[in-house]
C-alpha cells in the first residue's frame, strides 16, 4: 500500500538555525503516527513545512504519491488534509455551531452557491452531530471564546474533522486538557480512525496519550530523526531515554 503522506529530507533553516535537518518519514492509510521530542526539536516547524505554512528550505512532501511541497494550506485542506494547532485556534466571536459550519462550508458547493445559497451552507445538522460526537452538545449556541480551555481544545479538534479529512495532523492535542477530557478526546480519535479509516500524525508530549493512541512513533531531536518504531520499541530505545524520556 502506498503511503498517504511521504516526507523526504525536509530541511528548514531560520537564518543560521537549522530547525529541521533532513527529516524523512511516511504514513500509511489508517495509521496513527506519533511524533515526540524535546521542546525546540523542530516538531511544529516540521508540521508547518508539511502543511504549507512554511516553505521548506529543502525536501519534498507527497500526498498519495503526488508532490504538494509548498502548496497553500487552503488547497491542501481541500485535498483532505486537516490540522489542529498547538495554541488554541477557534473563532471566539462565533458560536460553537458557527465554528463548525465555518470549518465545513468551503467544502460545499462553489463560491457562487455559497453566496446565493443557505446561510448555513446546509451544514447545521452535520455540525450538530459533530458537536454531539465531541460531547459539546450543551454548548451549541455558546460563543467559542467563552468555553473552558479543554472545551475549546475539543472544539478545535471537532473543526479539524468537520470536512471529513483523510489525513489529520494534530499538534499537541492533549496540552492543557484535564484527564476526563483527555479520555474523551482519545476515545473520539480512535473512533474516527476506526470508522472512517482516517490517518493521523500526532505531535504530543503526553507520553501516556501517545503510547496508548499511536501505532508508530517517530522521535525527533535537534531537528533530526533520532528513532522510529512501535511505542514499545521507542520506550525501550536507550538513545530516546537519554535524549527525551529520561529514566
Amino acid at each position: 500500500m502506498s503511503p498517504v503522506l511521504e516526507v523526504s529530507n525536509i530541511h528548514k533553516a531560520f537564518g543560521g538555525i537549522k530547525a529541521v535537518n533532513g527529516v524523512s518519514f511516511s504514513v500509511k492509510e489508517g495509521e496513527i503516527l506519533g511524533i515526540i521530542g524535546p521542546n525546540g526539536c523542530g516538531k511544529s516547524t516540521l508540521f508547518n513545512c508539511i502543511l504549507g505554512q512554511l516553505d521548506p528550505t529543502e525536501g519534498t512532501v507527497k500526498l498519495d504519491g503526488k508532490e504538494v511541497t509548498g502548496m497553500r494550506p487552503s488547497d491542501l485542506n481541500r485535498l483532505g488534509v486537516s490540522r489542529t494547532f498547538q495554541l488554541l485556534q477557534v473563532f471566539p466571536e462565533l458560536s460553537v455551531r458557527e465554528n463548525l459550519i465555518l470549518a465545513g462550508q468551503e467544502h460545499e458547493g462553489t463560491m457562487l452557491s455559497r453566496f446565493f445559497g443557505r446561510r448555513d451552507a446546509g451544514l447545521t445538522e452535520k455540525a450538530d452531530r459533530m458537536i454531539g460526537f465531541f460531547k459539546l452538545g450543551h454548548l451549541v449556541d455558546a460563543k467559542a471564546g467563552g468555553l473552558s480551555y479543554g472545551q475549546q481544545k475539543l472544539l478545535d479538534a471537532a473543526m479539524a474533522f468537520m470536512a471529513g479529512p483523510r489525513l489529520v495532523l494534530l499538534d499537541e492535542p492533549a496540552g492543557g486538557v484535564n484527564l476526563t477530557m483527555l479520555g474523551d478526546l482519545k476515545e473520539r480519535l480512535r473512533a474516527i480512525n476506526a470508522e472512517q479509516g482516517a490517518t493521523f500524525v500526532v505531535i504530543e508530549h503526553n507520553m501516556d496519550f501517545v503510547m496508548s493512541l499511536c501505532t508508530r512513533v517517530l522521535v525527533l531531536a535537534e531537528g533530526k530523526v533520532l528513532a522510529e518504531g512501535t511505542p514499545a520499541e521507542v520506550r525501550a530505545n536507550r538513545q530516546v531515554i537519554e535524549a527525551y524520556l529520561g529514566h
Binding site: L94, L102, G117, R129, K135, K143
Partner: protein, 357 residues
Amino acid sequence: MTAPATEGSLPQQRGRLARVPSLAAFADGILITLMLGAVILWFAPAGMGRYGTYVLSLWLVTSIAVMGLNLTLGYAGLKSLAQAAFMGLGAYATALLTTKVGLNWYTSFALSGLLTFAVGLVLGFPALRVKAHYLAFVTLAFSTLIWLILRNEQWLTGGVFGLSNIPRPSLFGLKLDGALAFHRFVVIVTLILAVALWWMIRSPWGRAFTALRENPIRAASLGIDTRMYTLLAFAIGSAYAGFAGALYAPLVEFIDPSPFSLSQSFFLLLMVVAGGAGYLLGPFIGALLGVVLPEWLRVVGSLYLIIFATIVMLLLIACPQGVSGLLERGWAKLTGKGKIGKTVAGKSVAPNTGGRS
C-alpha cells in the same frame, strides 16, 4: 431530517448543497430596520427645504462608501485609507462618462462600480503580503496618487476647476432633477446596496470574512481561500465607494478633487469606527455623525469642529465599538440577550465585551 446527534456515532453524511429557503426565513431585525428606514427617509424631507434634503441625500451617499469600508475593515479586518480615493474614481468616472462620452447614468454607474472593483482587486494584492498599518500605508500611497491625478491631469479631470454640469438621471422617463425626486432615488439605490451587503454578510461569505479578520491562518487551514476573500473584500468594498461616487457626482452636479483627498479617507474611517465596525447598521450611524451632526452644530459657529471632535473622542473612550456597540450593550442590559444590528454570517451574536477593533 436526520436523527439528532448521539455521542459516539460519527457524523458521516455530507452537508447538502445550498438551496433557497422560504422568503419569510430571511427576514430579520436588520432587514426590517433597513426597510423601515427607507420608508421614513422617503418622506423625511417634507418641510426640510432644498438644503435639508441635500444633507439627507449626502448622508445616504456617504453611508454607501462607509458600508464598503465597513466590509473591508469591519468584517474582513483589512485596514484601508483609500476609500475616498475610490469614491473619487467613481465620481469622476460617472461625471466623464455622462458629460463627455454621453452615456446614461445607469451605464455610468455600473461602469464606475466595475472600474473601482477592478482597481480595488489590484490594490488588494498588497494586502496578501502586508497587514495592519503596513497595509494602511500602501493604501495611503494609493490615495495620494489618485488625488494627485485628479488635481494635476487637467485635460481629463479639469484639475482644481473640476467638472460641472453633471446631469441627474431619469427613472422610467421621470426627471429626477429636483432635490426631493433625486433624494428618493438615492433612498432606493442605498436600500438596494444595503440589502445586497446584508445578504452577503449573512451568507457563508460573511462568515469567511469574519474568519479572515479573526484568524487568517486558522481560516486557511479550514480550506478558506484567504487570498480570494481578501481580494473580494477589497474589491467589493472599493466598488461600494465607486457606487457612492457615482451617486455623489449627480447629487452635487459639480466635482473637484477636494472631497476625495486623504483627509476624507480618514474621515470615512472615523465613521466606520464611530458607527461600529463590523455592525451592518454602523455605517448609517457613523455617516450620521460625520455628515449630519456637523450640520446641526453649525449653530455654534466656529466652535463646531471642537464640539464635534470632543463628542467623537468621548464616544470612542466610552465605547470603542462605536455607537452600535453602545446600543448593543444597552439592549443586552434591557433584554439580557443583546442582539442589535450585529450580524456575523447571518447569526446575531451576543455582545462582544472584548476589545476587538
